[in-house]
Amino acid sequence: MTQRRSHQIGTGLFILLGFTALGYLATQTTSLANYRQGPTYALKARFTNIGQLKLRAPVKVAGVRIGSVTDIQLEPDRLEALVTLAVDRRFNQLPDDSAASVFTSGLLGDQYVALKPGGSPDMFKDGDEIILTQSSVQLEELIGKYLVGSGDSPARKPEEAKPADPAPATPDPATH
């Protein structure tokens, strides 16, 4: 009987451990982790082309996530994309001449908004608009441009396409 009891306790502990692991995986390693963030402030940015940018895409500075995309609208008069970003309040030291770009993680990864800090002494406040923006770079466009431009052997295309990229594809500190 005592053995049976120890089995029951062991089973309980095992189930607890399993559900802890499941809870951890589900909330800490998935997009759910992004919902559960502290107080944020909003920034807006206009882009002529946002590529495949999606809601909840990360906003990063120096490759580190500081917020997410909360809204994407098309402005009817200007026909530009108006993207709203929610930035963590802890990062309220962003100079108001910082530039926003839509980048791709890796060669083929998901897209995100990268903020490149400027040098202004004034900081962004809630609801400000980021003036300096750079639209998404379309891989297809690059390839097309390149093919028309030089008409070189298509076999060398991937190697040539990479340096043409205006910014390093990944702002990864380890590769710099």
Binding site: G10, F14, A21, L22, A26, T29
Partner: protein, 256 residues
């Protein structure tokens, strides 16, 4: 007794086995309502198939994570995409590697012991004795182990995945110097709860059913000799591994 006839009828034997396994599944399902009165037995079996498999699952999970971290960092750095190490590790684990490797380890650790245990019960007339005491071995012996497999396997797979994520983080961040925030933010940006994490959970529940079904079937129908039990144990590992991989492909291709 000619050799040719034996190999010729092997396909037929295989089909007969699959059919018998299907019938056995129906019997097990029918016995589940009756097995609810032996709930304590199911709890005990979760301990045996689940908790007792923890050591191997934790060890293998950790090392798979370490190796994945190393390999992916190396490969992804060729494309300048080391930031996605966490993402690739997580998606590969949640969708495929976690459920499948856990199922294979589970077949070797828990499946074999289920077959050997039930086979020995058959060989020593314990199953017949239960029948004679008006206790249905389907409900008392087989169904609790089947249910325990379905419960324990997803939990084991989650523990395996958590350890593997930990291992890959250890290699990529602590050892190779990838930025911690990059590792996590890329992962959380790309991994979805339903299509990745829960997908793997459903899969491993099915694998848990497959492995314990094969294991209980082999034990229940074993030739009642020590040699028969030995063969049945081997067959459990072989058949449940194959069946797991086939069903994995079918589920991935048609259901997910």
């Amino acid at each position: 007794m000619s050799e040719k006839r034996d190999s010729g009828s092997r396909l037929g034997d295989g089909l007969a086995q699959v059919g018998a396994l299907g019938l056995f599944l129906l019997q097990v399902l029918a016995a589940i309502p009756r097995s609810l009165r032996y709930f304590a037995e199911t709890v005990r079996q979760i301990f045996f198939v689940g908790a007792m498999s923890l050591v191997i699952i934790i060890t293998c999970g950790l090392f798979i994570g370490l190796v994945l971290g190393l390999q992916l960092y190396e490969v992804l750095s060729r494309f300048g995409s080391t930031a996605s190490v966490g993402t690739v590790v997580a998606i590969a684990l949640y969708r495929e590697l976690g459920p499948v490797i856990t199922a294979l380890l589970f077949a070797g650790r828990a499946g074999t012991s289920i077959t050997a245990e039930i086979g020995l019960m058959r060989a020593t007339d314990q199953l017949a004795a239960m029948e004679m005491m008006a206790v249905d071995p389907m409900a008392y012996v087989v169904a609790p182990r089947f249910l325990a497999g379905i419960v324990a396997m997803p939990l084991l797979a989650c523990i395996f995945n958590a350890l593997a994520i930990f291992g890959s983080h250890l290699v990529a961040v602590s050892w190779l110097g990838l930025d911690n925030g990059t590792f996590w933010s890329n992962m959380t940006g790309a991994v979805d709860v339903w299509t990745d994490v829960m997908n793997g959970v459903w899969k491993s529940a099915v694998f848990g059913a497959v492995v314990t079904l094969v294991a209980t079937f082999q034990g229940y129908t074993t030739a009642p000799t020590s040699e028969g039990v030995a063969y049945a144990t081997t067959r459990t590992v072989v058949y449940s591994s194959i069946l797991t991989l086939v069903i994995d492909f079918l589920m991935t291709a048609f259901l997910m």
